[in-house]
Each structure stands twice: as C-alpha cells, then as structure tokens.
Symmetry: C2
Subunit: 345 residues, 2 copies
C-alpha cells in the first residue's frame, strides 16, 4: 500500500469523538504526514491540526484526503461522497477505511480515472487468504483484547511495540483495522474478511517466526460485543498468543452502539478471553491491563490503575500517561524464567 | 432462488464421505427431484441413485448439475471446472455451494451466456446485511450446535422441524449452509458473510416473530474448531436461542480437517456453547443431544445415546434412527411450565 502523503484528515459531520478514531490515529502516530483537518461547521471535534477547506489543504501540499471516520456498518453517506468528489476535483487522492468502498461509487471512480488520481480502499482484504489450522507455530505473539470496541487496543499495541523495542527486543505491530493499517502501511482489515477465513487471516498476518522477535497483534471487537464477538473469537484462535493484554475504558457506561448493554467485568472478560485463546495456545497467560484514562484526572487514573491491577494481580497502566514498562517487565521476566524456547515447531 | 429441477448430483473425484454432504442432503431430503449421480471411476462413493454420465443425466431430464461437494477452503479445481463446462455444453444449468464462484470462472460464464443457461452460486450472501444488535426479540428459536463441523446439525435441525410440526406446532427451518439452502430453497450462507455481519445475518434470517411458531436454526462449525469458531460464536449471538440442541458424531476421532486435534467432551462443549449464548439469551437452556450413530450397530447406538443422555441429564437420540420425540417433549413440556410468553418485546 502506497498512499501518497501528506494527508488532509477528514472529520466531516462527525460529533462522536470515537467516530473519528482513524483520523485521530494518523494525527497522533503520523503527525508529520498530516497538513490539516477538514470538518464541517456542525462538527465540534478537532485533532489540533489547522482547520482547512479542501482547497486550502491542496494548497498546503496535501496529496490525499483520508476519510478517517467510522460508524457501525461502515456506510458512506451522500454528504461524504460529495466531499470525496470535491477532493478529487481539487486534485487529491482519496483513502477510506469504510466498508462501503470508494471504488463502488461509479461517480468517484469516473472522476479519479479522468484525473489520474487513486481511490484507496484500506478495507479490501488480501485475496486468497487461507483457512486457519490452529497448528502450533513458532514465534512470540501478544494479542490485545478488550471489554468493548474502541477501548484503546490499537494504542496499547503500538505502545507495547515501542516498549519492547526500547528494551532491546525486536517487535512488529500487526495491524487488523483500518487505522492501524494506515499507520503501519500494511495489515489485514479483519472485519472485512469472509467469516470462514478469520483465524486464517491472522495466521497469514503473523506467520511463524524464529528470530526471537515479537508480533504484537492488534485486537478487534470484544467477546462481549454481540455484533462483533465472532471476529474477536477467530482473532484469538488465529493469533495463538503467548500473552494477552486486556484493554478497557473505565469511562465507558455501556457497550459501544448498544448503550443499554452493560460492560463486562474485567475479571470475567479476561477469563473468557483466556478460555477461548487456550484452544490454540494452551499456555496463554495475561501479561497486563491497559486503561484509557483520558477522561480522568491524574490522581483518579492512578487509583483506577491501582484498583484494576490489584483485582487481577497484573500490572495495570494507561500506556499514554504512565508508559508500559511494567507490562514489558512482566513479559520479559516471565520469558527469562521459562525453559529455552523451541526454535521451530 | 429458483434452481431448475430435476438435478444431477455431482460426486466427482471425492473419496471422503463427508465431502459429498451437499449432494447427499439433496438425495435424502429432495430425492424426488434427483435423477441420478455423476461420479468418476476413482470415486468410491454412491448416494444409491443411478450412476449417469452427463449426457445420460441430460437425457433422463436433469436440468441442473449440482456440484454438491465440499472441501476446506471451498476451492474448485480444474477437473471440476471441466465437468461443469461439460454439463453446460450438454444443456444443463450448474449450481454450486463452493466459496470459489462459478461466476468467477470466465470460461463458464461465457458458455452459460452463449447457451442461455444459468450458474447458481448458492454461497453468495444477501446484499446489505445489517450489523447485529443482540437486542431481545420475540420468537422461539432453537439452534443446533456441535462438537465439530459435519456432525449432523443440518439433519438434526430438519428432524426437529418435522417433529415440531408432527406435534401440531408451526416450525420453520432456517438454513445457514449451502446444503440446507438448496434443500430449503432459501437461507443465508453464513460462512460466506463478511465477518462484521455474522450475528446480523442471523438476526436477518430469523427475525422477530410472534405467531407462536418456532425457528429451528441450522448451526455451523464448532466453538472447538480453530478454523471456524468465529462463525459459530456470531451464530450463537445472532440466534438468541431459547434452547440449544447439541450434535455429535461418536465415530469422529479428531476435529475435521485437523485430525491431530482431539474432539471436545460433550459436557465441556455444551457448557461453552451455553456460556457464549447467554450474552444475548440469558435464559438459554439445553434441550437435548443428537448423535449421528450411522457407523454403529443398533445396540451400540442405543448404548451411546443412553450414556450421553445420562452424562448430561438430557434426552439423547439419533434423529434418523430413533426420532426426536424425546427432545420435542422436553421443549414442549418446558414450554407448558413457563409463564405466558411476552408476545412482542
């Protein structure tokens, strides 16, 4: 995937902060590639980038408009199509992580073709994915799992990769969602894969490795989200993780998109994930907990991390506030006390 | 779906009896629509229908060749494409339940178009499926679940529909696999649905109903099959079943396609399915066990059913050998002892 930078990030008419997570991820992890943000007057959100019209973005050097917004179902509405059209007419490529494909809108395809511009549908999965086997494979894999969608699994995964590298380890981020794929420049959009190939897609994404390096696999959905638990289950089986990191947002009142549904308890959620993971990774263990405490004070955040860590007997942190050193220490300590790994099984 | 009957059933080069389950399902449940079976000399299997060449099938009145074979991954190999081509050239339509689509083979499309014949890809899911919500909906739904793929879930489901009808109930079979869809004339090919829409597809297939009738939903895969457990999980959540029926093949030595992997125990498997189902159906219960005892003597079959029933404290039967009355009685007795149902929630 070679999406020309720099980017103009699209917020559109979005009012829900979680709805712009793809744009926010790029703004945070590839900020040097982002010239500005495009939003309509009814959008109260900002990424702290200069607000630009599409023409201003083009004049500032943007080469691609990234439709970094999300909604349940991944639809593209008419105003969004109109904005994409305006971007093409201003000479920008357009990239999208929505289910509804840019390349499925004939009007956009026609303009892009006429102007020699590209439409990037990040959610098109690779062709010819294999069916998963669950057969033991070499390698050291960590999977982030969550109490819900959008609780910080991608952020935690990226922080764990940085933390492992800072400890002298080789580590790679394995992206499974549109934001992660845009940040990493590759990956598998797991929720767009055909159902029979979910676990196989992860075996493809994080194949056997015997260089001693780690794969940190970005989790998706939640076993406790009735819309998406099938994806989370196949991901656990395909990842064959040696360790799980549980992610949670303590401010979340109910399951995303289904507010009447209560969040699961941390202990219940971790136990369910370990149980499902054991089918392909019998010795899987929990390595830590990552909380997104962005809506709490520092003191509250410390208290929340302390309580959750005590409850589960695991290191607990907010990766962006307090770092992930405690979880990395747990991973590496455990490693030192293990017998020598089998290089290739 | 309107696939012209009668059918010529394809066995091809298949040597594994489970590999012809779609052809066998049609031979058993729509036998009056089947004129014969087509197999190559290296295929040791038969459905007990007259063996016919494609020309003989056409002469006997067959209007469609049904590629009723299955393999992990659902690929169509070159010999199978050659046979499909021969059928078209003999004036037959062709239907297939494989992942690999007939309509994706330009050579077949060209011949079909030239001759005014149709290619039916039963595994194309409906467009615009919704994302599941897990919200409580009216209706009485039974889901068959299994220790593995291909252990008799479809057969059990069809038998339960017949049994409910014989008891004066209204009941409908909700097909989720290619064989079931061919038998029922409709349904959703669940393993071909995009991963984000698995549970939503089942909410679409078996929507709220308040006529007092039952939906018997055909299960797929197994929570203990590492290739397909994601599908089974989403199916449990979308089905929102009031009762599960556990299906098992006591002759199965290891998980289908992964013979080194042991089968789960019945109690372990049932407990895991009930746990997953509770997310959207908190009062779900087990209604019975169906064993496929076709490779055992009558006495052995009775002993196996007795043992499994005793182990789990549930009625246990082989639906084709001993009927499903005990399970139907359990379903209806429980119903009579329940408070009056809420007609619509």
């Amino acid at each position: 995937m070679n999406i020309p930078a720099p980017y103009l990030l699209y917020l559109g008419h979005t009012t829900d902060p979680v709805g712009i997570k793809t744009s926010r991820g790029l703004a945070e992890f590839r900020r040097h590639d982002c010239v500005g943000e495009f939003r309509h007057d009814d959008c109260p959100l900002t990424l702290g980038l200069p607000r630009m019209s599409i023409a201003e973005g083009a004049a500032a050097g943007a080469r691609t408009l990234v439709l970094g917004v999300a909604n349940a179902g991944g639809t593209m509405d008419l105003p969004m199509i109109a904005d994409a059209k305006a971007a093409l007419e201003a000479g920008l490529n357009v990239a999208s992580g929505l289910h509804h494909r840019l390349n499925a809108v004939p009007e956009l395809v026609a303009i892009a073709n006429a102007r020699g511009l590209a439409l990037f549908d990040v959610r098109d999965p690779p062709a010819n994915l294999p069916v998963g086997t669950g057969r033991p494979r070499a390698g050291r894999r960590i999977l982030t799992v969550g109490t819900d969608c959008s609780v910080g699994k991608m952020y935690a995964s990226l922080a764990l990769v940085d933390g492992l590298r800072a400890s002298g380890q080789t580590a790679d981020f394995r992206a499974t969602g549109q934001t992660g794929i845009l940040i990493a420049g590759g990956g598998v959009p797991l929720d767009a894969v055909i159902a029979d190939f979910i676990s196989g897609a992860i075996e493809y994404l994080a194949p056997a490795r015997d260089d001693g390096g780690w794969d940190v696999i970005e989790g998706q959905g939640s076993l406790f989200h009735p819309s998406f638990a099938g994806v989370s289950t196949g991901l656990l089986h395909g990842a064959q993780p040696e360790a799980l990191v549980l992610c949670h947002d303590p401010a979340r009142k109910g399951i995303r998109g289904l507010p009447e549904r209560p969040m699961p308890g941390l202990a219940e959620c971790l136990a369910a994930n370990l149980q499902v993971a054991r089918l392909t990774s019998p010795n899987v263990r929990a390595a830590g907990i990552c909380l997104n405490t962005s809506s709490f004070s520092e003191a509250e955040a410390q208290r929340l991390c302390g309580e959750a860590g005590h409850l589960l007997g695991l290191p607990c942190t907010d990766p962006y506030r307090f770092g992930v050193e405690a979880i990395i220490d747990n991973l590496l300590c455990h490693e030192r006390s293990k017998p020598a790994p089998i290089a290739s099984r």
